[in-house]
Subunit: 310 residues, 2 copies
């Protein structure tokens, strides 16, 4: 088994190749050419934390993946990253582990951000006026860092529940090619932005229907577990198009699950990102529609980014 | 994260310490002092194989474990071991991976064999006449290699579906302290042995009620997945005591599940190994009883052997 550490993985990863492979992964998933069992999960109480295990394979492929991701939010108080974990790529012919990516969660951050960029590429209106970033953690940074691959817009408004963290992210030198302001309120962010990415670990809705103007696309990536929520169901009622990475998974948790449970939308009206990638005609019809893409993370992404990072 | 390979793990492991820790793990499990979600599993078709992920923690402990085990039976045709995998021990305080045991399945083999030895120690009659080993693979070897820790009997009869593999195991120099014969039939094995360990990957019952004489203890370790079976339900009907590593898991798969489904026994009559270890009075009453211990493998074993191997 080859063992790669975070630095080696960061240096070797070709972003272009990952984009292509992850798009292929979403398409294979939506065409039922994957085997992806439900996510395995554990919760911890003292300190609070969680561990998610995602695993699966492409039926036609040579590999299967097991990804272990942990989230311990209080770590940040002692200067440690909240997220950690690893990905292992196995041979589908022998069951032998081939490559261990000791990536400390980097590949998960990347594949999540790449999914956000793919969603944006597929669903934004023709002109992005300003990018709104709701949330100030690591994933907020990763989402912003990848959006230049899919939009020419370099104006960003950031809003966070912690104003100090928002100011720090706005000044992050790695995002120096953006013109970034901190938005005092979500109202002001949503009034200026027509591409909004939500990346918080909120357990109550932050964005409501009244916030969103026509012609806005929202990518929701924060609510990746039971109990988490960023978008109010009213927003789904107002949306013209709701796209999920996995309809089955988004019915079980994520913003969509809250919206379906409260009857703001019907599950029959949901579309999968892989279906949209395979047939772009299913997407946005004009520049006044409101679109939502709910990303909860599926093992096809972990598999494909691991293959790209081999 | 510390990374240990198989050789390092084999050299460092104290068998006595593992015995004690795994017994403590079974007791904690049966006293509901563990969090062990259901096993995560994937099946493969071409070639056939499976991947099981076991994970969990002791509520009072400092660690949690994730164990990935693969089984690809056709590997042996090309000289590769059928089993592989790894164990990762994480901090329950930060979610950080602490030790990766790149053990190629060794710790799983060991903790399974140690559970078998614990079951034998707890349930055998006062005098073991002869040890019967049903099966000829790696686990058959491991079970035999650990039984000297719990019985003075050195007579062994081996039966396997593949006679050549049975003869090879009988001559294994690592088992040179045993007097080993190959049994021509299961009838002859069961007629001579009052401690029988079943270690096959059979999908149909091998041992039936008529095989077993009074005063026999059977440890069944092979049927660790849906569809696998070694013991006919009739044998459970004849047994005086049926002990499971995990009643919940043994109702979902393993020999016990077949027996309960066919109404040969009721689930109310099952006992857990951890309960028996905590209170030996619950065990065998005399040397004529027939006892069965069904071992399907639980994450408490993986956790405890990982702690022992740190």
């Amino acid at each position: 088994m080859q063992i790669l550490d975070r630095k080696e993985i960061e240096n070797a990863l070709s972003i272009e190749r990952v984009f292509r492979l992850i798009e292929e992964g979403f398409i294979a998933y939506s065409q039922k050419k994957t085997v992806i069992p439900p996510v395995a999960a554990m919760q911890f109480e003292n300190p609070p934390g969680d561990c998610h295990i995602k695993y699966g394979y492409l039926k036609e492929g040579s590999y299967f993946v097991v990804k272990i991701a942990t989230g311990f939010p209080l770590n940040t108080k002692s200067g440690l990253p909240a997220g950690n974990g690893m990905i292992v790529l196995f041979s589908k012919k022998t069951g032998a582990p081939l490559v261990l990516f000791n990536d400390e969660g980097f590949l998960t951050d990347m594949r999540t951000a790449i999914a956000g960029a793919i969603a944006a590429k597929t669903l934004v209106p023709s002109h992005v006026e300003c990018i709104g970033c709701v949330g100030t953690g690591a994933q907020a940074y990763y989402q912003l860092s990848l959006l230049p691959h899919v939009t020419r817009c370099r104006k960003v408004l950031i809003w966070g529940r912690d104003g100090e963290k928002a100011r720090r992210l706005a000044k992050d030198p790695r995002l120096g090619h953006f013109s970034i302001q901190v938005a005092p309120t979500l109202d002001s962010l949503a009034a200026s932005c027509n591409l909004i990415v939500t990346t918080t670990s909120s357990k109550a809705p932050l964005l409501f229907a009244h916030h969103i103007k026509p012609g806005t696309h929202i990518t929701a990536v924060g609510a990746d577990d039971i109990g988490k929520q960023e978008l109010d169901p009213s927003l789904f009622r107002k949306a013209d198009l709701v796209v999920c990475d996995s309809i089955a998974q988004c019915l079980s948790f994520g913003d969509t699950s809250h919206a379906v449970r409260s009857a703001a939308i019907k599950k029959e009206d949901l579309m999968e990102l892989g279906a949209l990638l395979a047939n772009p005609l299913l997407g946005r019809k004009n520049d006044t529609q409101i679109t939502i893409c709910d990303l909860t993370g599926i093992a096809a992404q972990d598999l494909q980014i691991a293959i790209a990072a081999m």
